[in-house]
């Protein structure tokens, strides 16, 4: 039996997947809409499945899809179709074959909204085991796995869950932080669009573990496809009894609701997110109290990133050891790394912690898309440090990046070629902080604006040494005086640009184009 698959992932759609589907439909082919494999330079990637093997064709446009359809209609086996965009057996592509996909095990393989597909590919196994072993053992298992918060802070997930499990309260909540605002990151989006039942399963397990009966997924409004996929998946899971009064036929109740953000980056900060969910301005709260004690509506709340919750079903299904066997040091398991920006092979690369930055950018990413030399990479989003090639031997690990004054954050790597002007990137870090500051604390609210103004003077070229000294002093104030990571981490891109690329801050503005042409 032969099947043709075209991803419904937003990035595939953005690259023209709908035109491909129309061209196939005109030739009488109704493709299955799978999720993306995460090899975005090949999107739209059409897969033809024959005898259980997938053959890839991409990136396809409508004409390419028509040519493929003609070859299929002529009865040519997929492996023998001579097509300019033929990429061979999909799972043999080195980018994919080299990965360790635990969280993204189903990516590109299943129809994201098919409950049957989900169950046939290992879905609900983690929840089944969670129901068998009970709350305390679930928390022990997650703790033993070494899983740390994948949103960026890296706090041990099991300890967070234990705190909520031990907190008393008539109502507890599981809140999923799906406000994936960092540029260069899209792994949360891929989970929600490409395997939404996985997130539902992870949240249900969390609910059972800590005694929470209600959950919210707070998704940013910039992700309309993710919101639609999650809402459809929640309705399907409810109808099938995986959510509701009796989760999976057990005595545990768990209800889930999807909420939409409203374009505020700061709501990715967990306490601002909770205020936003409550219907308030997304203003950061002072801690303590921790959300685990007083979270949503003042109740004990587990708030975890999408990737943290999506890692849990594997941990339960295969056991803590199977997860913890991957990784290095205190960074256990796998990290879905996102290669983005000016990179030849951009996409999702899930692998065990410990791989070097250089291997990721040069070997797996294949260098820049522009073909020019890689000059800088920003790791961990707008609040992450810029690393030069000299630091490419840094292993991907929470502590190793911290030791180099950087952070892995949510695992996004944005690649820049040699046309980048690092003084402008430093200025943008302040500008972005000024746009998105919630305004509660002074170092962030005022500092970001003053930083932007001072960088303007650096770029204009008068007294660069004096102005740079002011920037450094300001960064010190923001780093230690801000309430949350927005103001507190904005110094990372600024100070790293200053430390590693001082030549861009020297005798005034270098009038280079801001990006590759």
């Amino acid at each position: 039996m032969r099947r043709v698959l075209v991803p419904r992932d937003a990035a595939a759609i953005a690259c023209g997947a709908e035109a491909v589907v129309r061209a196939l439909a005109a030739a009488g082919i109704a493709p299955v809409r799978n999720s993306s494999r995460g090899m975005f330079w090949l999107e739209p990637l059409v897969e033809v499945e024959e005898d259980g093997v997938r053959w890839g064709f991409g990136p396809l446009d409508a004409a390419g899809a028509t040519a493929l359809a003609e070859a299929l209609a002529a009865g040519t086996p997929a492996a023998e179709i001579r097509h300019p965009q033929a990429v061979g057996e999909v799972e043999a592509i080195p980018f994919l074959a080299g990965q360790t996909r635990l969280t993204f095990a189903r990516a590109g393989i299943t129809d994201p909204l098919s409950l049957a597909d989900y169950a046939a590919h290992g879905g609900w196994k983690g929840l089944g085991r969670a129901l068998d072993i009970g709350p305390e053992a679930i928390v022990a298992e997650v703790t033993a796995s070494g899983l740390r918060g994948r949103g960026g802070a890296g706090f041990p997930t099991g300890i967070k869950w234990k705190t909520v499990a031990e907190a008393a309260g008539p109502q507890k909540y599981i809140v999923c932080n799906a406000d994936e605002g960092d540029s260069g990151t899209f792994a949360d989006r891929m989970v929600m669009e490409g395997d939404p039942f996985l997130l539902i399963e992870g949240m249900a397990i969390a609910g059972i573990a800590v005694g929470a009966t209600r959950g919210y997924v707070y998704v940013r409004s910039e992700y309309p496809h993710a919101i639609a996929a999650l809402e459809a998946a929640v309705a399907t899971a409810e109808a099938a009894g995986w959510l509701g009064e009796r989760v999976g036929g057990s005595g545990h109740a768990f209800r889930l609701e999807v909420r939409t953000g409203a374009g505020a980056y700061v709501c990715g900060e967990e306490t601002a997110l909770l205020d936003s969910l409550e219907g308030k301005r997304g203003i950061v709260r002072a801690k303590p109290p921790l959300p685990a004690h007083k979270g949503l509506f003042g109740r004990p709340t587990v708030i975890n990133n999408v990737l943290s919750l999506a890692a849990v079903p594997f941990v339960l299904a295969e056991g803590a050891k199977a997860y913890a066997d991957y990784g290095m040091g205190r960074s256990r398991g796998t990290m879905p790394i996102q290669l983005a920006g000016n990179v030849r092979h951009g996409g999702l690369y899930e692998t065990a912690f410990g791989i070097t930055l250089g291997a990721l950018v040069d070997e797996i990413g294949g260098g820049t898309a522009s073909g020019r030399p890689v000059r800088a990479v920003q790791v961990g989003g707008p609040l992450g440090a810029y690393f030069p090639r000299a630091l490419f031997d840094t292993p991907f690990d929470y502590e190793a990046f911290a030791a180099k004054d950087g952070l892995i954050g949510h695992g996004g790597i944005v690649v820049f070629d040699d046309t980048v002007d690092m003084a402008r990137q430093a200025r943008f870090a302040f500008e972005f902080c000024a746009i998105e500051s919630c305004g509660k604390c002074t170092p962030c609210r005022i500092g970001a604006v003053r930083g932007q103004e001072t960088m303007d003077r650096v770029i204009a070229g008068g007294d660069p040494a004096g102005q740079v000294a002011l920037v450094e002093d300001l960064c010190n104030t923001m780093k230690f005086g801000s309430l949350c990571a927005l103001g507190g981490f904005t110094p990372y891109p600024v100070l790293s640009a200053l430390a590693h690329f001082p030549e861009d801050f020297g005798g005034g503005a270098r009038r280079l184009p801001t990006a590759a042409e």
């Binding site: 937003a10 990035a11 759609i13 953005a14 690259c15 975005f40 330079w41 999107e43 605002g181 540029s183 260069g184 990151t185 899209f186 989006r189 409004s221 910039e222 309309p224 496809h225 609701e257 909420r259 939409t260 953000g261 409203a262 374009g263 505020a264 980056y265 936003s276 969910l277 409550e278 219907g279 308030k280 301005r281 997304g282 509506f297 996102q338 290669l339 983005a340 920006g341 000016n342 990179v343 951009g346 996409g347 898309a369 707008p382 996004g412 944005v414 690649v415 820049f416 070629d417 980048v420 990137q425 943008f428 972005f432 746009i435 998105e436 184009p513 801001t514 990006a515 590759a516 042409e517």
Partner: protein
């Protein structure tokens, strides 16, 4: 794409009624108001405040905090261009300048023929940068030619 009707109190109260029983109903209410009216009318905020038993200041504070909620109707079409780092690395700033020139308006404004141009900070399409969104439709791998086609489509 968006309806920019005059707001009215009855429809506002209907919207509030659909969400009032939910936990934290204010953001869902403001979202639906924007869907229904094309913007969040400032004059409607006291109606929402009264129905939810909140102060007018609280509701005004929320409506003005979030970038998404418009105080006035947008143009016929809304074109969002991503200006975050991944798109910067692929030359989005030159495209923004090109779009601003073509439409005769800076980001945040509306062209005389009704295309609103906005900056957005990340659409999550960072491996196929530069990216844009025309109304709800994502578009990636933008270059000057594709941007011009997108602008032409928006103006049509």
């Amino acid at each position: 794409m968006q309806r920019s009707a005059e707001w009215n109190e009855a429809e506002t109260l209907e919207i509030v009624g659909r969400h009032a029983q939910r936990e934290g109903p204010l953001l869902p209410i403001l979202h639906e108001m924007q869907e229904s009216f094309g913007y969040v009318p400032r004059d409607a905020l006291p109606v929402v405040a009264k129905a939810l038993n909140l102060s007018r200041a609280e509701v005004y504070g929320v409506a003005t905090f979030y970038h998404d909620f418009r105080a006035a109707p947008a143009g016929r079409r809304v074109l969002k261009l991503c200006r975050a780092e991944a798109c910067q690395s692929m030359g989005c700033e030159a495209l923004v300048a090109r779009a601003e020139e073509a439409l005769g308006t800076a980001c945040g404004g509306t062209s005389p023929d009704g295309v609103t141009l906005e900056a957005v900070y990340c659409l999550g399409l960072c491996a196929t940068s530069p990216s844009a969104m025309l109304d709800g439709r994502p578009v990636a791998r933008l270059d000057a030619e594709r941007l011009d086609a997108l602008i032409a489509e928006a103006r049509a």
